[in-house]
């Protein structure tokens, strides 16, 4: 097959256009640096979203053969293997903006409790940075993307001067909060990247609650809506769509010299040359690219002399409990749509005085789908015994009263929780596909027991009744969609792939700026930190480029 290679050498090639790649492209182009951005998919068209399509209209549209946009990548298009009995549910979005098109939007700052914990408890390597290093970037990200939240500030969840007003809690959330308070477990206003006020002229959130369908007025942060247009406006950005990156190419000295990709539509192989490569294809796909980028200098994958790339895959372990609050049953149905997620969040508390634990790290909890459902009866209604008028009456009675609690616990990094590539199993372009081998272990099981105890105590204190909750049931690995750790940053080049500015120890013109850079998963949702670290890393890169010290 003919390989199409362009003679142009781009100052920077960015791989991926989600939170990490989008931020990198935005921050470099606004500083006058020319960027070629490669994304594995197309631009999604907001005007085609079904955000506010009523069920009635939806039926007519379907009859006309229309379909809502399909955000999620079909696993068959980029297959991966898992060992028998150890599934891993990988969720990927290929297209401009990546997962930020449909992300959960939870935007929590890491704190020094998180960042200094590995050094304290000795499990695996410490973070090479502290809160003070990220804090200025969190401030800038909050202002740029728009994050609603309260004025609370704690050791575990640092506050922000730039939060937009938080949405008022729903009744059921208030009652859970009130119950938890008697246990000295605080719930605080959620922090989500929903624009409860206009940000630089944008349309604010209007509380339709259907963020999962994509926002047709861009009222929550999405890289494709809020970063890429500004970057394009600088005239310094070129975007190539449907560019499925296979490998980073290297020169005789082992430095990156370009990128090899395949056109998703035509299958043709292309090569582009660049002086610097910034990798932000999301944790698993970035890892695939790095491990497949083998050469004489990098037989084990690009910049993987330490053999850490692909290892230490960690996300979060979680379960879902729901039930209803008899105090609210039989009351009027309220419009609980809100910002399409919980309005109150339970920050981690187990590190505080008065709490004990027999495991490392900790957990927080979300409460999405609490209150009256806007899409039908709550799923728990099917568990109500009986049928006929009695059932119908009880479903209505409980409708305003449902609560859900979703705790997220940190999974430790383990060397053998690992992504590898298998040359014996090539994809349709002939590129080795990945294998994900991931399990949770004793520490997570002990934490899960504490998570269960906590949820049970809170529900009891709030006067709730469980409907769908079985102690010990855990959601599948991968379902949190918070993969981290497989290309981690650290001070020790023998135990980490990146330095404290996301630059490869072994390959000084390659940066990796997505969640794979995190040494630990923490109990928090990663996107806000990915944005902050990608901004910080590309500031560092831009400085180097200006000084000519790269």
């Amino acid at each position: 097959m003919q390989i199409i290679s362009s003679p142009k050498v781009y100052p920077v090639i960015v791989i991926g256009s989600g939170a990490s790649g989008g931020m990198a492209a935005w921050n470099l182009t606004r500083q006058g640096i020319e960027v070629l951005l490669l994304d594995a998919g197309d631009k999604f068209d907001r005007s085609t979203y079904w955000t506010h399509v009523t069920p009635w209209e939806a039926r007519e549209r379907r009859a006309r053969g229309e379909r809502p946009p399909q955000f999620f990548l079909d696993r068959n298009e980029s297959p991966y293997e898992t060992p028998a009995g150890r599934p891993f549910d990988l969720t990927r979005v290929w297209g401009h903006g990546g997962k930020t098109n449909v992300w959960g939007r939870v935007s929590l700052r890491l704190s020094d409790v998180n960042l200094k914990e590995p050094a304290r408890d000795g499990w695996e390597i410490p973070w090479p940075i502290a809160y003070a290093d990220i804090a200025p970037y969190y401030d800038k990200v909050d202002q740029l993307i728009g994050v609603c939240g309260g004025d609370d500030d704690s050791d575990i969840l640092p506050g922000s001067r730039y939060h937009l007003p938080p949405p008022a809690p729903r009744c059921a959330e208030r009652l859970i909060q009130k119950g938890a308070r008697t246990l000295d477990i605080p719930f605080v206003p959620t922090r989500r990247a929903n624009r409860t006020r206009s940000v630089r002229g944008s349309i604010p959130c209007h509380y339709c609650g259907n963020c999962g369908a994509g926002c047709d007025v861009a009222a929550f942060f999405c890289s494709a809506d809020h970063l890429l247009p500004e970057a394009l406006a600088t005239k310094k950005l070129e975007i190539r769509s449907n560019a499925v990156v296979a490998r980073i190419l290297t020169d005789a000295n082992g430095l990156a010299s370009g990128v090899q990709y395949f056109d998703r539509k035509t299958g043709s192989e292309q090569q582009v040359r660049g002086k610097v490569i910034v990798v932000g294809a999301s944790c698993v796909d970035s890892t695939r690219i790095l491990l497949n980028s083998t050469s004489r200098t990098h037989p084990n994958g690009l910049g993987n002399g330490s053999d850490v790339i692909g290892r230490y895959l960690c996300e979060q372990v979680r379960f879902h409990a729901n039930g209803y609050l008899p105090a609210l049953a039989g009351g009027p149905t309220r419009n609980d749509r809100g910002i399409g997620g919980e309005h109150l969040y339970m920050p981690r508390f187990n590190h505080r005085a008065g709490h004990t634990r027999d495991y490392l790290r900790g957990f927080g909890a979300q409460m999405w789908s609490t209150g009256a459902s806007a899409s039908g009866a709550h799923g728990g209604s099917e568990k109500i015994p009986g049928f006929g008028a009695t059932l119908k009456r009880e479903i209505k009675r409980r409708h305003p009263a449902w609560f859900e609690i979703h705790p997220y616990g940190e999974v430790l990094p383990y060397a053998d929780n690992r992504i590898t590539v298998d040359p014996a199993k090539p994809d349709r372009f002939g590129v080795p596909t990945i294998r994900i081998d991931y399990t949770i272990r004793d520490n997570e099981r002990k934490m899960l027991a504490h998570m269960s105890d906590t949820v049970e105590e809170i529900v009891k204190a709030a006067g709730g009744v469980f409907v769908n909750y079985t102690r010990g049931d855990v959601d599948g690995n991968g379902t949190a969609i918070h993969e981290h750790g497989t290309c981690r940053m650290g001070d020790d080049p023998k135990r980490s792939a990146l330095n404290a500015f996301n630059r490869m120890h072994d390959v000084r013109n390659v940066y990796v700026v997505d969640g794979s850079a995190f040494p630990t998963a923490t109990e928090k949702n990663p996107t806000l930190t990915i944005l902050a670290l990608a901004w910080r890393a590309t500031d560092h890169l831009a400085d180097d480029m200006r000084r000519g010290t790269l």
Binding site: Q177, P332, N335, G376, E382, G388
Partner: protein
């Protein structure tokens, strides 16, 4: 996939269908014919869904055309799920024929209640009724998904105001709910 797993997964399929809003029949569609169900099976499904969510002060499953939702879900389901459902439906009809000498749809309300009471899972299902119980759990879930995602179920019965554009989110204003 065994029969039970097939039935369970069918209920999930139906719930996903309801959530995806591919379904909502608010007015009678002229000339509708089922894609999967025979007319006799459709009549049984109409009667079963109405027995699960009947007309009260608001219309029930029959008026909300939940039978069409069930047919649509079956059409989109795998063969194993579809077969398991139809076998369960046949079990109900056969049981009614044996006990009452007529189909479920033709049985009296008392007869219907007497059968459904035995196969509604309250944790004490007799072994002989287990196929009926597995089926009933499935069709009950499908009825709830289908009915409450219609305008009748969501707006009229549950009282959702349907508003998707608010200037402010008021939230809880009850003094007694504040901590």
């Amino acid at each position: 996939m065994n029969r039970r797993d097939a039935l369970r997964s069918l209920a999930s399929t139906a719930a996903a269908l309801a959530a995806s809003r591919t379904w909502i029949h608010v007015r009678a569609e002229q000339g509708w014919t089922p894609a999967v169900l025979t007319p006799a099976q459709d009549a049984e499904v109409v009667a079963l869904t109405e027995a699960i969510i009947p007309a009260t002060e608001t219309p029930g499953a029959k008026a909300a055309l939940v039978n069409r939702f069930v047919d649509q879900a079956l059409a989109g389901a795998g063969a194993a799920q579809r077969d398991a459902f139809l076998q369960g439906l046949a079990w109900v009809t056969a049981r009614c024929q044996a006990e009452f000498g007529q189909t479920f749809a033709a049985a009296t309300p008392e007869q219907q209640v007497s059968l459904l009471t035995r196969i509604d899972d309250d944790g004490t299902i007799a072994a002989a009724e287990q196929p009926g119980a597995d089926f009933f759990r499935t069709i009950k879930g499908m009825t709830i998904s289908g009915y409450y995602s219609t305008e009748i179920g969501l707006r009229q019965e549950l009282g959702d105001d349907g508003r998707m554009v608010l200037a402010q989110f008021e939230g809880c204003t009850h003094p007694e709910h504040q901590g």
